[in-house]
């Protein structure tokens, strides 16, 4: 018993955890792969441990193991998970049922997908408490309202009567945090709770989560791939890679004095040297007073927008979701014909509708999408995907086409072996590279990049941005870069347009836009980008002049 006394403050103790899964490659015998290799961690009551790493690092898998759960056929095959002094892996199904939702709760990444759309929020928030019989319905609801208030949700008394679709994404994420806290658990697992949110909303949710953790003395595992975010909430940080522990230490030590090379790469990833180019004399593409709307003119999403792009330069369009930045791209490409205004390209007016544009105009203007997996036909090989623009625009066929495809693959730093692969056989970063090669194949003058790096891990995204900059040097292509990530903007843009609710609120060269004095929205946007610095969150919240859209 001396051992348990020594561990009095210890809530969670994971020892030599080993997690395996069986994969079924088509046409091969099933084989077992190890996802987590002998990872150990301890967590004390009221502390927050951040688990960070790229996708596939096993961070969610480890997080879920604290509630004895293996997602999608994953098996915990070795080690111990000791929670409150007992090994939960030995408790059987009944033991796990008593534990989940009572001692350990889970906050998922996509709140929109995690709530049942057919039930009111309150019913879902108090469900676990009622099932475990720890409180009566009236008590649980009172507790929930208090939590809503603590998480600074609007109308805490009545918000529980709404359905999930009636509140915004940021609010829903906070309601889910309330749901996790409602049954007064000892431990909460946060699985990328702010990754799907806009920066301006993320900061509110982050602050709410941090306050709630502090006030309720709950311990937490905070899973994310964003080191700057985890630096705000965690006491300790654990860096994982390929299911193995890389480094584990206090937050300050990890971000200030990383001991491992990989951690260092993560910490310093955001910096790319890019010298701003001055705008030329004649813009290559100019958008003049464009107004566009969905639903037959009912919902105006672009209001009188004008921007210019100069040859070989990058215009970054920044804004949160719903600000109309993707719609601007749709208006330029002709997918959404503008109601008023027009788009000039190389001195001529572009047809409003896609069907009105000659093939040559289409070739000059290429697009790269956010989700590379759905931007490529899964039934076509890389050779077909990259080769098609060559056939289509230049009539290059057969061996010459294959040669050109190989050159393009070389340009995107992928070898020849990829020509016969299908998209499903590529990694996320490789997919995006193939999409880049496909647009380059058309030899365009302008490429529209719609959030091309936001679905990628930081290190991979870094590689893609560098590649895009290199290609710009070689091919003299201009980019219209749509993003919500200001770090990306700083690294690659020559000029910036900040969009808010369908209007361009700030526009000019990078140095001008990013220099004070700021307008209220740009200030909010800039101050919301998490910085890798302890205490940044409190400073940012205190210094804000404008409430974000989520409130």
């Amino acid at each position: 018993m001396a051992d348990s006394k020594a561990n009095a403050g210890r809530l969670l103790d994971i020892r030599n955890l080993r997690i395996e899964a069986t994969v079924y490659p088509p046409g091969e015998a099933p084989k077992t792969i190890t996802l987590v290799h002998d990872v150990s961690l301890t967590l004390e009551k009221g502390k927050v441990l951040g688990l960070i790493g790229e996708s596939g690092a096993g961070k969610s898998t480890i997080g879920l193991s604290s509630m004895g759960y293996g997602r999608g056929g994953v098996r915990i095959t070795g080690g111990e998970v000791i929670l409150n002094g007992r090994d939960i892996l030995k408790g059987g199904k009944e033991g796990l049922r008593k534990l989940r939702g009572r001692e350990v709760c889970y906050v998922a990444q996509s709140a929109a997908a995690a709530f049942n759309p057919a039930h009111r929020l309150m019913d879902q928030v108090v469900e676990a408490t009622l099932l475990h019989g720890t409180a009566t319905r009236a008590e649980a609801e009172k507790r929930a309202v208090a939590l809503f208030k603590k998480l600074s949700l609007p109308n805490p008394e009545t918000i529980g009567e709404r359905f999930p679709h009636q509140v915004s994404g940021g609010q829903l994420q906070r309601v889910m945090t309330a749901m996790a806290l409602c049954s007064e658990p000892d431990l909460i697992v946060f699985d990328e709770p702010t990754t799907a949110l806009d920066v301006t909303t993320q900061i509110d949710v982050l602050a709410a989560i941090k306050d709630a953790i502090r006030d309720t003395h709950v311990a937490a595992l905070y899973i994310t791939h964003d080191l700057a975010v985890v630096a705000q909430v965690a006491d300790e940080i654990m860096v994982l890679r390929h299911g193995r522990l890389v480094e584990w230490g206090g937050t300050r030590q990890i971000i200030k004095e990383p001991r491992q090379e990989y951690t260092n790469a993560l910490v310093s990833v955001h910096e790319i040297e890019h010298n701003e180019q001055q705008p030329g004399t004649t813009p290559m593409l100019s958008v003049k007073n464009v107004t566009a709307a969905y639903g037959g003119g009912l919902v105006k999403v672009l209001k009188n927008v004008s921007v210019d792009i100069y040859p070989g330069q990058t215009l970054a369009v920044v804004g949160e979701s719903g600000s109309g930045k993707s719609t601007l791209a749709r208006a330029i490409t002709g997918l959404l014909p503008p109601e008023q205004g027009s788009v000039f390209f190389d001195g001529r007016t572009l047809g409003n509708r896609l069907a009105d544009r000659p093939k040559e105009d289409l070739r000059q203007l290429q697009m790269i999408y956010q989700m590379a997996d759905v931007a490529m036909n899964p039934r076509q090989t890389v050779g077909t995907i990259i080769g098609r623009p060559l056939e289509f625009y230049f009539g290059i066929r057969g061996r010459e086409r294959d040669k050109r495809v190989a050159e393009l693959l070389d340009q995107i730093e992928m070898g020849k072996g990829f020509i016969d692969r299908y998209p499903a056989e590529l990694s996320g970063g490789q997919k995006q590279r193939v999409c880049i090669a496909r647009s380059l194949a058309a030899k365009p003058k302008l490429i529209i990049c719609d959030e091309v790096t936001s679905a990628l891990d930081p290190l991979v995204a870094h590689g893609i941005l560098k590649l895009l900059l290199n290609l710009q040097q070689i091919e003299k292509v201009a980019y219209l870069f749509i993003t919500h990530d200001l770090a990306t903007v700083k690294s690659i843009a020559d000029s910036i347009a900040v969009m808010y609710r369908g209007e361009v609120v700030r526009y000019g060269s990078k140095s001008k836009v990013l220099a004070p004095p700021f307008d209220a929205y740009t200030d909010l946007l800039l101050s919301s980008v998490p910085e890798m610095e302890i205490g940044w969150l409190e400073k940012a919240i205190a210094g804000r002049r404008m409430e974000s859209a989520g409130n």
């Binding site: 046409g27 759905v374 036909n377 039934r379 998209p423 496909r438």
Partner: protein, 275 residues
């Protein structure tokens, strides 16, 4: 392509049986011991013997020979009708999804109209008016069945049509031909193949029903359904002649679907069947 050791047993059974049926159909005049309409016995429903392996039918014709010729007619009509219904239904369904607007609305309402009339009644009315020959039979079966294929392929294609890769193709300036056949069709193939196995069997059954009612294949030719009809009275006397074509229909149904399932399994892989 075909590695026998790695093909599942069920698929092998399906392939073997289907091949047998197809061979019987193709080689009917050479392998059938007697002619299709040749009366070989004075007594109807002669029991199985070494001379007549499956016995004789209600008119004293050799049942085995009738079965082999019947396979020819059954498969011929069912294959052509299914091919017609799939090419018609899939192309129209994909086009409706891609073009949208009035084209989609008009076609979809027309299909709704066709589907609101029970297939059998529609078939009966049309076939009793039109001259009864193979071409009309195939056309009527194919067109009536294509309404189902149309709805399926339109539903599948509508989902695919909003994918980014289709948008990318449209931005590239591709014509509808490329979009339908190169972007949408390969991705819609899996549900279509599984439906194909089912639809083929429905075609066999529909043909049998029509023949049973006297509107399908006209005597002395007979498909398997027609042969069930000819011999059905024997069942009361314990004569199995009607059950043999019925069993053949069932065996064909199962084997074709085993093959379809196997093809489906092979085509769903997005990695080109590689590991």
């Amino acid at each position: 392509m075909l590695d026998i050791r790695r093909t599942p047993v069920a698929a092998l059974i399906g392939i073997v049986l289907t091949t047998l049926f197809v061979l019987a159909a193709v080689l009917a005049p050479w392998i059938a011991p007697h002619g299709n309409a040749e009366i070989v016995s004075d007594v109807p429903w002669e029991p199985m013997s070494s001379v007549h392996l499956l016995g004789t039918d209600n008119l004293g014709r050799d049942l085995l020979s009738r079965m082999i010729y019947g396979a020819r007619i059954t498969l011929f009509i069912a294959v052509l009708a299914t091919a017609l219904s799939f090419s018609l239904g899939a192309i129209l369904g994909f086009s409706a999804a891609v073009f949208g607007g009035w084209f989609d609305t008009m076609l979809s309402r027309l299909v709704d109209l066709l589907m609101s009339i029970p297939t059998l009644i529609m078939g009966l009315v049309v076939l009793s008016v039109l001259p009864s020959n193979l071409v009309t039979l195939i056309l009527v079966m194919g067109i009536l069945d294509s309404t189902r294929v149309y709805r399926l392929s339109r539903a599948v294609a509508v989902d695919i049509n909003v994918m980014d890769y289709v948008e990318a193709a449209k931005l590239r300036g591709e014509g509808s031909g490329w979009i339908i056949f190169r972007e949408i069709l390969p991705n819609a193939l899996s549900p279509l193949v599984s439906e194909l196995g089912l639809r083929f069997i429905y075609a066999v059954l529909f043909l049998s029903t029509l023949s049973f009612l006297g509107l399908g294949v006209q005597p002395p030719d007979a498909d398997w359904g027609g042969m069930v009809k000819e011999n059905k009275d024997g069942i009361v006397f314990g004569i199995p002649a009607a059950l043999i074509p019925a069993a053949a229909i069932a065996a064909l149904a199962i084997s074709v679907n085993l093959v379809a399932d196997w093809v489906l399994n092979r085509t769903t892989s997005l990695k080109g069947g590689r590991g």
